[in-house]
């Protein structure tokens, strides 16, 4: 018998095998070997690539090293998106391992935010958490927490400690028993085909008539283009954590179980692979 709690574990321990290669134009003193790593899906690139940075810096002259950034098939990778989301959105149909190119030069200022230190990641992560709780509980839960609880959430993510993180995070996933779910579902829908970075709207988990909203309801409401027409063939995949949940899945359940640690459901709409 599988319990819903196992889903949390599976989500947390999702890993993407990645091959980091130094960009060909980077100047090196000696040849830089590719670097292989299992990246946690729920974490952030700049949080888990200390080893990568160290590896390639060894091959480079000190003065050529500036802020590291990553790129996949020409697209700079936003460090403030969770890794799993980046992979699902950009690379889900390609073969593993995921080939990421490492850059130290020509930081793409218009595409990426600077990440001077891990504090920037922490600040970004915590602000997402707060935004999510504002949607879910009018910020009541996150505001009632102590500073050390906030720290434990962040340390849990940083150290990849599932139980440490969830010991606190479960409080963010609760809701009053008389309600049928959160106030609004924190979600973001990403598409590669549009200019807009993502779609985010207010959406309740339960309809006015008491019926539970499903993933399909959400997409029909905020992103109808993602759905296949009634008779037409399926053009897009709706992906969270590398899987395609059925459109009948209740949104509330998804929010409780398939949210990223920042408490958002990051949903990727990617074109259906042709083969």
């Amino acid at each position: 018998m599988t319990d819903d709690k196992d889903v949390l574990r599976d989500v947390w321990f999702g890993r993407i095998p990645t091959c980091f290669t130094l960009y060909q134009d980077e100047i090196t003193e000696r040849e830089a070997e590719p670097y292989y790593l299992l990246l946690p899906r729920v974490s952030y690139l700049t949080l888990v690539t200390d080893k990568v940075k160290k590896h390639f810096q060894k091959a480079m002259r000190q003065e050529d090293v500036s802020e590291i950034w990553f790129e996949y098939e020409g697209t700079p990778l936003k460090w403030h998106y969770p890794i799993g989301l980046l992979f699902d959105l950009l690379a889900s149909s390609s073969a593993l391992p995921w080939n990421i190119t490492v850059h130290f030069k020509s930081f793409p200022e218009k595409d990426l935010l600077h990440c001077p230190s891990k504090d920037a990641v922490e600040a970004h992560f915590m602000s997402c958490m707060k935004e999510a709780d504002a949607l879910k509980h009018k910020s009541q839960v996150i505001n009632e927490m102590q500073k050390k609880d906030h720290k434990q959430l962040w340390m849990g993510l940083q150290n990849d400690r599932f139980d440490q993180f969830w010991a606190i995070n479960r409080k963010l996933m609760e809701y009053p028993p008389e309600e049928n779910g959160f106030r609004y579902i924190p979600f973001r829908i990403y598409q590669t085909t549009t200019e807009r970075p993502f779609i985010q709207k207010l959406f309740r988990p339960v309809a006015a008539d008491g019926q539970l909203h499903t993933l399909g309801d959400l997409l029909r409401e905020v992103c109808p283009s993602a759905l296949a027409p009634e008779d037409g063939e399926k053009k897009n995949q709706v992906m969270i954590h590398g899987i395609e949940p059925m459109l009948e899945t209740p949104l509330q359940w998804l929010s409780e179980h398939l949210s990223y640690p920042d408490n958002f459901l990051h949903i990727s709409i990617v074109p259906q692979p042709t083969d």
């Binding site: 319990d3 999702g14 299992l38 888990v48 150290n159 899987i243 395609e244």
Partner: protein, 1166 residues
């Protein structure tokens, strides 16, 4: 919380029930009769029907209501014919009652009413004081009356034997007329009001119910002898009143209020256990002189009233000591009646719309509640109606309603029968010929509301409005006998007559526009639902005496949305299980595939984040290991680290100071065997055991500042322990379950070497993890069926979840966790000493015990200072005298003795200088866990058949036996892995109440009666689950057995003095065995498993640091040829109360079993 029901009567006299778990009013199963009044208790409902006769509706149950009739056959010896029926002229009757004074021939014993039937013929009782007698059941004495012995002696001149026959109450789930065979002169005139209550005055086994009734002439009657085993009672007796009574209300406890015709209230005083009728009346004046009281309703500590101007009043300060209360408070709302149910919850019927309102927010601290909330759920009949109704029918229906309004408007003029007219409202449109038939028609209502409705509506359509005027006359003449002769100004009509008038006006007034609409053109489809004829039932009476609404619980009575038909809503509310399974299954499946895809070939890759050590620190208190033992403040740190293989381990450090020097002790969590919460009124503490600490009987004890803090630590440590032992999720079906004396539940996964012959795992190394919930008894079976019994005797079945209670978040499963509650009593003793001047007083000798103490007398316990056992518990009752103490009590609950401490008896003698009485107070705990209630029968014991792991058990049902809290033996039908709760109980008749039952692997059922005798049930098999008859097994000499446990072939029993007995001489042909052999003493509980392994809970187990009570022990050296084994292996304890090893059929390793086969098995008879 099991569902209970609210009873109500609509204006047409139809009786409906509404379940606390339901969303529809259900028409009462037996619809032969229309009712004016109903008054409900949990198991039954009394009512006054339109014929003014009293009816009783006893709800069906798997346990029959049975009553034993007894008669004695007396014989005297004479030299001629030996013992014979010829007695001396001075002797008693040859057939008599127990005293011998009453003649009682077997064929003269008759059933008391047509609602009873005989269970069997007369037979001789061969059980004499717990011991089997010689054949024939004769007991001997020198002469009548005398003490009888079962052995015939030289001087035995007389003998007697007892004949018994059971009768069974058969009129269940139906309205049974209470026979009035009283003296015609005393015959009460037609009844007008009735109220039941008083069930809390006496506890089981008395289980008395007070039934009070008011006649049309204003006299008050009390029904004598109503109790659970005698639901009808015996006779009506008149209770004098100072005036003409209109209405009466009897609370669950000792409150009885009535209203006088003049408008005052009457309050009955002096009601107690020994005098449930009370002794006198007091008068309470109405809130204002101009408007008298019209209606009252009493609860446990509240009284609500309605005055003649419909205002609602709450009586302040009402309780047992002051049944009159202090003052009236006016409440919001206008009601025609109110009714106080269980837990002092209140329902009312509004004047305005005749809807039933529920008083929200009634809690023990706020008895007057907050607001009235209308119960807007529809009726069952509406549900079937709404889905299929065509617009034509609905329009007709609507039209009919409009006509009905004007029809009833004329009704008040025929004053003599008006109330009946109202009740007959819906039938008015019937053509005359159908009126004669209306009884049959109503009979068909029970078959299906749909079927009967349509013809009715068609008739309404067909029936011209002009015939209306005559139809009610006819119906009243035909059908109402009683009230036809009563004058209209009789007070009770105030309630029933006046309001319908207003109500019937109301639709007429409210509808003109819509009527206009309907005459204008085709009736719009969308309009029909909200205004459908039956959408808004009009209620006349409501009774919540059987309806248990917990303060703060969520009801679904208020949520039907207007415009949406209930059936549609029902479907849309939840996703069907099949769909649920589909999306969830797919997510599980895809996640597994994803992990495979993304990780399988890349496991050699480096992890991006190195596993690091994580430390949680905090401040706790620690019970110092050395003298002086006391709580000292400590810092604690839990260090968790992960090895390269991914395995986790943790160490708990406890830092303390000795002489200003910092020291620490540490515990490896992979060595911890159990974490036990030890809650008491002062501290939130827990105990941590390792095998070594178990042997020492000295755990590490830690206390936290708050309950939350303790729960956090407990959950974290427990999770760490489980992780280091890789224990996760649902326990296996073979798991060993146990319960501590605090009601905490623990479960242990048996390793294969737990029951090995050699190199077996010492049982102090077993790892126990806690499961949420609160139980007293737990029993399991190797197919995963687990049942438990709470302290309040509620039966629970395991749902397959884990966690709950203080285990939240990751330590708990998402589904299968439900709220659970338990109730137990706290007892204190009032002690008194006699002195020649003042008699018994609470002034003792200086050497005496405290005058208010615990049972030992060593601890002072006053009513004020005694607190619930821990902060988890809250009081739910006041202190009351406990009469059910062993040894018996006098009328006031006192027990007498010559001195403290001594054996007490329930009557005073010359030599008794001290006395005591026991006070009890109930407290309640609310928690959660993987348990669902198996309602409604409360249990005392349960046993599930043990099965060996390889048994081809799949498919057939799992045998489960139980003993109810009243001592009935029950056999559960339909229990399987998929339906562990089973379907229903099969009652197994016994001649006396039982205490314990156990079923062995080969369907050997053994049981112990409350008198300490043992029984074997013959011929139990899968095809004959209840077997055929009981065989009385003599107990060990001079011992009263209390518990029995049957394994594969072994039978063990316990007696009240803690001796463990093995039943010797059991063979396939003689399953009853031949004798009891003593095995051990100091045993509290025994559990024999499917491998015939014997585990007990033992007292007085010596450890290196102390003695422990309640220790889990395993019998060593149990082998087929030596089933009694030798010596004990000591496990976890103390403080353990119950263990079940009956699911563990994990076999010894292969080579062992072959050896075993070579030696040949012991006596096996399956």
């Amino acid at each position: 919380m099991p569902a209970s029901v609210l009873w109500a009567v609509d204006l047409f006299g139809r009786v409906y029930t509404l379940s606390t778990a339901g969303q529809y009013w259900e028409l009462c199963k037996d619809v032969q009769m229309e009712f004016k009044r109903v008054s409900a208790a949990t198991q039954c409902c009394w009512g006054i029907a339109c014929d003014n006769q009293v009816y009783l509706y006893v709800c069906s149950s798997d346990v029959p209501i049975r009553h034993r009739e007894e008669a004695y056959e007396n014989q005297r010896w004479n030299p001629m014919g030996g013992f014979c029926e010829k007695l001396l002229p001075s002797d008693r009757w040859s057939w008599s009652d127990v005293s011998g004074l009453q003649h009682r021939p077997l064929d003269g014993v008759e059933l008391p009413s047509p609602h009873w039937e005989w269970e069997s013929d007369w037979y001789v009782d061969e059980n004499f004081g717990g011991e089997p007698t010689e054949k024939g059941g004769w007991t001997y004495a020198m002469d009548f009356p005398a003490t009888y012995t079962k052995d015939k002696k030289w001087n035995s001149c007389v003998r007697r034997r007892k004949w018994i026959r059971y009768r069974r109450y058969k009129s269940r789930d139906t309205w049974a007329k209470i026979p009035s065979k009283d003296d015609p002169k005393e015959l009460p005139d037609p009844f007008n009001d009735l109220s039941v209550g008083g069930w809390e005055i006496t506890e089981e086994p008395v289980g008395r119910l007070s039934v009070w009734a008011v006649s049309l002439q204003g006299k008050v009657w009390y029904r004598e002898g109503v109790s659970h085993p005698n639901p009808e009672g015996s006779s009506w007796s008149l209770v004098d009143t100072p005036g003409e009574v209109v209405q009466i209300s009897c609370g669950p406890h000792d409150l009885i209020w009535a209203t006088l015709w003049e408008g005052q209230a009457l309050v009955r005083e002096g009601i107690c256990r020994n005098n449930p009728k009370g002794s006198s009346w007091s008068i309470v004046e109405p809130p204002g002189s101009e408007n008298g009281i019209m209606h009252v309703s009493a609860g446990v500590s509240v009284v609500w009233a309605i005055t003649k101007d419909r205002k609602v009043w709450f009586r302040r300060g009402v309780n047992s000591h002051n049944p009159c209360g202090t003052s009236w408070i006016e409440m919001v709302g206008e009601m025609t009646m109110v009714n106080v149910g269980l837990n002092d919850q209140v329902w009312g019927i509004s004047c305005e719309d005749r809807a039933v309102y529920f008083r929200q927010g009634v809690t023990p601290s706020e008895l007057s509640g907050k607001t009235w909330k209308a119960i807007i759920v529809g009726r069952e009949s509406d549900r079937s109606h709404s889905g299929s109704s065509s617009s034509l029918l609905s329009a007709g229906c609507f039209f009919g309603d409009e006509v009905r309004g004007s029809g009833t408007e004329s009704a008040p003029s025929d004053t003599d029968a008006s109330s009946e007219v109202e009740r007959q409202g819906p039938e008015q449109p019937f053509p005359k010929e159908s009126l004669d038939d209306s009884r049959n028609l109503k009979g068909s209502l029970s078959k299906g509301p749909e079927a009967s409705r349509n013809p009715e509506q068609n008739m309404e359509n067909a029936c011209p409005a002009e015939s209306e005027g005559k139809a009610p006359e006819a119906s009243s003449a035909d059908e109402c006998h009683g009230p036809a002769s009563t004058p209209a100004e009789l007070p009770w009509t105030n309630i029933d007559l006046k309001e319908p008038k207003r109500v019937s006006n109301q639709p007429a007034a409210g509808f003109p526009e819509t009527t206009g609409l309907s005459s204008l053109g085709p009736f719009p489809l969308g309009m029909e639902e909200p205004y459908g004829a039956d959408d808004h039932p009009l209620w006349a009476w409501v009774s919540g005496g059987g309806c248990a609404v917990e303060a703060g619980s969520v009801l679904k009575w208020f949520t039907v949305q207007s415009g949406q038909s209930p059936s549609v809503q029902m479907l849309s509310l939840s996703i069907t299980p099949a769909q649920t399974a589909a999306w969830r299954k797919q997510i599980f499946q895809q996640l597994t595939e994803r992990t495979k895809r993304e990780l399988e070939s890349f496991r050699h890759y480096e992890q991006a984040v190195e596993q690091s050590v994580w430390v949680k620190t905090g401040s706790l208190q620690w019970w110092c290991d050395w003298k002086p033992h006391k709580w000292v403040d400590v810092r604690v740190a839990l260090e968790q680290f992960t090895g390269h293989d991914g395995a986790r381990d943790s160490i708990l450090f406890i830092y303390y100071m000795v002489h200003e020097e910092k020291k620490y002790l540490h515990v490896f969590l992979n060595e911890v065997t159990v974490l036990v919460p030890v809650l008491n009124e002062a501290k939130h503490s827990f105990a941590l055991y390792t095998p070594e600490r178990t042997r020492q009987r000295w755990p590490v004890r830690l206390a936290a500042a708050t309950e939350q803090d303790m729960n956090d630590w407990l959950a974290l440590l427990s999770l760490s322990c489980c992780e280091s032992r890789k224990v996760h999720g649902r326990p296996s079906p073979q798991a060993i379950w146990s319960v501590t004396c605090k009601g905490d539940i623990f479960v242990s996964e048996p390793s294969p070497d737990l029951e090995a012959r050699e190199h077996l795992l010492p049982c102090d190394q077993m790892f126990w993890r806690q499961m949420g919930g609160h139980l007293r008894i737990i029993e399991a079976n190797s197919r995963g069926v687990v049942w438990g019994i709470g302290y309040d005797h509620t039966a629970w079945v395991y749902t397959g979840g884990y966690g709950g209670g203080c285990f939240q978040g990751l330590a708990s499963s998402t589904s299968n966790i439900y709220p659970q509650s338990d109730v137990k009593s706290v007892y204190i003793y009032e002690n008194q000493r006699w002195n020649p001047v003042t008699g018994y007083t609470s002034r003792g000798l200086p050497t005496d015990r405290y005058m208010w103490s615990d049972v030992t007398g060593l601890q002072e316990c006053t009513k004020a200072s005694t607190k619930p056992p821990s902060l988890q518990w809250t009081w739910v009752s006041d202190w009351y005298v406990d009469f059910s103490v062993p040894g018996g009590t006098d009328q006031e609950g006192w027990q007498y003795a010559s001195d403290f401490p001594a054996s007490y008896h329930g009557y005073k003698t010359m030599k008794d200088f001290v006395r005591r009485r026991c006070w009890a107070r109930k407290c309640k705990l609310v928690t959660s866990g993987p348990w669902l209630e198996v309602a409604p029968i409360a249990l005392g014991d349960v046993s599930i058949i043990p099965e060996s792991a390889h048994a081809d058990g799949q498919g057939h049902n799992i045998a489960l036996w139980a003993v109810s809290d009243k001592g009935d033996v029950l056999c559960r039908l339909g229990v399987s892995e998929l339906n562990p709760a089973g379907s229903s109980w099969l009652h197994v008749g016994t001649d006396q109440p039982f205490a314990s039952v156990s079923i062995g692997a080969c369907y050997q059922v053994w049981a112990v009666a409350r008198d300490g005798s043992a029984f074997y049930r013959g011929s139990v098999s899968p095809s004959q689950p209840a077997g055929d008859c009981w065989y009385h097994i003599p107990s060990p000499p001079k011992q009263k057995l209390t518990q029995v446990s049957v394994g594969q072939t072994s039978v063990y029993a316990l007696d009240e003095n803690g001796n463990l007995w093995y039943r010797a001489g059991i063979t396939p042909s003689y399953p009853q065995g031949s004798s009891w052999e003593h095995v051990s003493n100091n045993v509290r509980k025994v559990s024999v498993g499917p491998l015939d392994q014997v585990w007990v809970i033992a007292n007085k187990v010596q450890g290196s640091h102390g003695l422990s009570r309640g220790t889990v022990c395993r019998r060593m050296g149990v082998q087929p040829r030596e089933p009694k084994g030798q010596g004990w292996d000591y496990g976890i304890g103390g403080g353990w109360d119950h263990i079940s090893v009956r699911a563990n059929a994990t076999m010894v390793p292969r080579n062992m079993s072959r050896e075993q086969e070579a030696h040949g098995q012991g006596p096996v008879y399956c």
